[in-house]
Symmetry: C2
Subunit: 211 residues, 2 copies
DNA sequence: CAATGTAGGCGTATGCCGTACGCTGTCAAG
DNA sequence: CTTGACAGCGTACGGCATACGCCTACATTG
């Protein structure tokens, strides 16, 4: 017989994400989110245990749109496409990148995604320790690539600063930074991921021989 | 003719890192660091512009011990060894991992390290866009692997939780998580990095053909 | 040795933050 | 129509980074 809730978790997540998208990570606060929902600050705590749980809601809202069904193609195309989907979902909310990395473990969507990736790796012939290593390598590369793409883009400030480094101390770094500005992010991602795929190819072949 | 400074930047960095190592990221504050130095809080501001600059000092203190001279061996062994050195330096201060990722761009030591890595890649035959992609792939993998190793270790809580996931929804994830506990971190790092090296091998070969 | 003025050291205060606590009013069930 | 569980929220607390301005130590200069 209690009074009914007036908000869904999804509405909370949307409001928080809206604050984050509009005003940046520094502006994300319980006060700001509550204000955007038209509530008092403390009312938000009827819906969320604490700030960390609010962040989890945001992350799930970011990752939920990821299609986790296994796409067509050979296993390499499948892995690339699955990873590309995560990349796209995250790219829609660049301000949420650090949160996404921090709370990925609590996201049901990312669990489903991981299960799909493992399905692809298993179908490719990997099991046991090799499968563990492959899965973690895919995760590591994806996490690192997202971090680089959004916090240190090839076309960004950091690259420009490196390009301006003294050539006597950092000849290669300066030259490479100048080349870097011409590589678009999606291409960087695809090419980088294909390096990993080539490595996985070797792993699959060696496990096929020994297994 | 002014009064002389009583502290060096290095002493500041050591104090801050000591706080971080001892009491965790949540305990790192201007107050705590100043207290450890035996000063009033505001005195710290005579030495650093703001908290962000304090964090940069910490990061440089973490990365400074990295030997950036190019080791012996073929280019793959060289890349692995260079990356392993960063991994070891960072592993000495696990609480500093997020800071290290965040402020890596400002670290002179990491710039020197990058120059060395580029030297190895260049000697292996890479230039232009291929070199850009290779460098960033190494960085991405390293960043991601550090994040995974320290915030989601294979032997840790998260893995245990995944191993306990319902087998009807996440059969592969649960099984893989059980296998994962048996893979030690150093081995995970080496095997994962070798996947990338195998991929780079292909890139080197293809650039050799086309160049 | 005395005067000087730069800059070190720091007390105070402001405005953020997350959140504990307890009140008030609503509204569905009985 | 009563009722009590709970939504909503005002207030308050402790901690944070940090702006500002005071006092004073001390290397330099005369």
């Amino acid at each position: 017989m209690p009074r009914p809730r007036s908000l869904t978790p999804l509405q909370i997540a949307e409001a928080a994400l809206a604050v984050l998208d509009a005003d940046g990570p520094g502006a994300l606060s319980m006060r700001a989110v509550a204000a955007r929902l038209g509530m008092g600050t403390m009312s938000l705590y009827r819906y969320v245990e604490d700030r960390s749980q609010l962040e989890e809601l945001i992350v799930e809202r970011v990752l939920e749109p990821v299609d986790t069904t296994v796409p067509d193609g050979d296993w390499k195309q499948q892995l690339l496409a699955l990873s590309e989907r995560v990349r796209r979902a995250v790219a829609a909310h660049p301000n949420a990148v650090p949160l996404t990395a921090a709370h990925r473990q609590s996201s049901p969507s990312l669990l489903r995604w991981s299960e799909s990736v493992l399905g692809v790796l298993t179908a490719a012939g990997l099991t046991g320790r090799a499968r563990v290593v492959a899965m973690r390598a895919v995760l590591a590369h994806l996490l690192g690539a997202l971090e680089l793409e959004h916090r240190a883009p090839l076309a960004g400030e950091g690259t420009r600063r490196m390009a301006a480094l003294p050539a006597e101390d950092f000849p290669l770094l300066a030259a490479t930074a100048r080349d870097a500005a011409a590589v678009p992010s999606p291409e960087e991602f695809r090419l980088g991921f294909e390096l990993l795929l080539a490595g996985l190819d070797g792993l699959v072949a060696s496990q096929a021989r020994s297994g």
